[in-house]
């Protein structure tokens, strides 16, 4: 059994294993009291004001009770992680479901954000900028040698990135593709403190640049 506050586990078990409907109702009321702050925090997070948050909160409570608390029962088959974190994930997904039911599309998906996603630069281009390798994705010139050089640099960098462990590539994606600050990356990953992460990113970029130089690439200039 994974790490979990004893009282949260007892509360959850009381809900799921109650045989008497009145006992289950009481256990559910206790469960809701214990977790209402978390549920409301997530519901409010999705925006739309208090009434929208309360709608989502009510939807979450209803959904968690559905099919004899089927979603809560999944906790035990899903790794039994820290319950509050697991519940936060589940509740956030339910809030998104509520939004889809209501509006029929992913929350926040607009023509503008879809356009931004389509124009999203890839990691190779972004890291290339960071390493000052020249404008790989700049408007093309008529110089075929420059274009060949650019392709060489792009392929070499793509190869160097592919050779990185997934954990390091993930850090670079979060930093450069998703534009997270280093403290935000530290919060989202197991990558260590912001202090350590700053040094790790610096080292990664230095190593990438060194790998490219070993391949005979200093910049994108022919």
């Amino acid at each position: 059994m994974g790490p979990m506050s004893g009282s949260h586990l007892l509360g959850l078990q009381a809900v799921l294993h109650a045989t008497d409907p009145l006992d289950q109702r009481e256990a559910w009321a206790v469960f809701v009291r214990e977790h209402s702050e978390l549920l409301l925090r997530v519901a409010r997070r999705m925006g739309g004001g208090h009434d929208a948050a309360m709608d989502r909160y009510a939807f979450v409570l209803e959904s968690l009770q559905q099919d004899d608390f089927r979603r809560l029962r999944c906790y035990f088959a899903d790794g039994e992680r820290k319950f509050s974190t697991w519940l936060t994930v589940v509740v956030r997904r339910l809030c998104l479901d509520h939004h889809r039911h209501r509006y029929g599309r992913p929350q926040g998906e607009t023509a503008a954000s879809a356009q931004r996603r389509a124009e999203r630069r890839n990691l190779v281009d972004l890291v290339s900028d960071e390493l000052s390798l020249g404008a790989l994705s700049a408007p093309g010139s008529d110089d075929p040698d420059l274009e060949i050089r650019r392709n060489e640099v792009s392929r070499a960098l793509e190869c160097a990135l592919a050779c990185l462990p997934a954990s390091e590539r993930l850090i670079l994606r979060l930093r450069f593709e998703d534009d997270l600050s280093v403290p935000e990356i530290a919060r989202a990953t197991s990558a260590g403190s912001p202090f350590r992460l700053y040094r790790r990113i610096d080292r990664l970029l230095r190593d990438l640049k060194a790998a490219l130089e070993e391949s005979g690439i200093d910049d994108a200039s022919p």
């Binding site: 009321a29 702050e37 409010r44 208090h50 709608d55 992680r81 994930v89 280093v182 197991s190």
Partner: protein, 198 residues
């Protein structure tokens, strides 16, 4: 990519709380590397959950506690909401109970103003600035990039000037953060990095 199975709630929760073993972590990180949707979910969850130190206890040299202050009336309102609000209803609550305020659920966080994260700045006239919270005292902490404490200051202001007695090295990186210190309440800023110009 359309048929890729996404991460389970357990996988995301385990990753966020650093509870996965090496194999499980590799599976999750490999998926996050490839899946924009799960990465977006991870980012949003991390913002909801707040700093790891607030989730799992204080870590490292810097005290990083972020506790929510719950006024009694609002706490009563939360209990009332759970006990008395009918399922699916957003109707009025019984007299004396109140819905939580607009900013109640926001993590207590201090917004720094200057220097911005990653700034390169001159060592002379180094001024730290942040946005005010409802507190009487702020604590500014300045560290080397190896985590060694250089300077700490308790102040009622939202501005602090580095004393001349504190000597910073040109070209070196430092980290700083601000905490709000009040009776039973604390809030923190994100750790900010600054580099001293050569």
């Amino acid at each position: 990519m359309e048929t890729m199975e996404h991460l389970t709630a357990g996988q995301l929760a385990g990753y966020l709380d650093a509870e996965l073993d090496a194999t499980q972590r590799l599976v999750v990180e490999s998926h996050l590397d490839a899946c924009v949707e799960c990465r977006g979910e991870l980012i949003d969850l991390a913002r909801i959950l707040g700093p790891k130190s607030a989730r799992a206890g204080s870590l490292g040299r810097i005290r990083a506690s972020a506790r929510w202050w719950v006024p009694a009336a609002v706490a009563a309102g939360l209990v009332g909401l759970a006990l008395f609000a009918p399922q699916g209803s957003t109707g009025p609550l019984p007299e004396g109970l109140e819905r939580p305020g607009a900013d109640f659920f926001e993590s207590a966080r201090i917004t720094t103003v200057a220097p911005f994260d990653g700034a390169t700045t001159s060592v002379s006239n180094l001024v730290f600035t942040w946005r005010a919270l409802a507190t009487e005292t702020y604590r500014l902490t300045l560290l080397t990039d190896t985590g060694e404490l250089i300077w700490t200051l308790d102040t009622p202001d939202t501005v602090a000037i580095l004393p001349r007695a504190i000597v910073l090295s040109p070209g070196a990186s430092y980290f700083w953060r601000v905490e709000a210190i009040a009776d039973g309440i604390s809030a923190t800023s994100d750790v900010q990095r600054l580099e001293i110009a050569r």
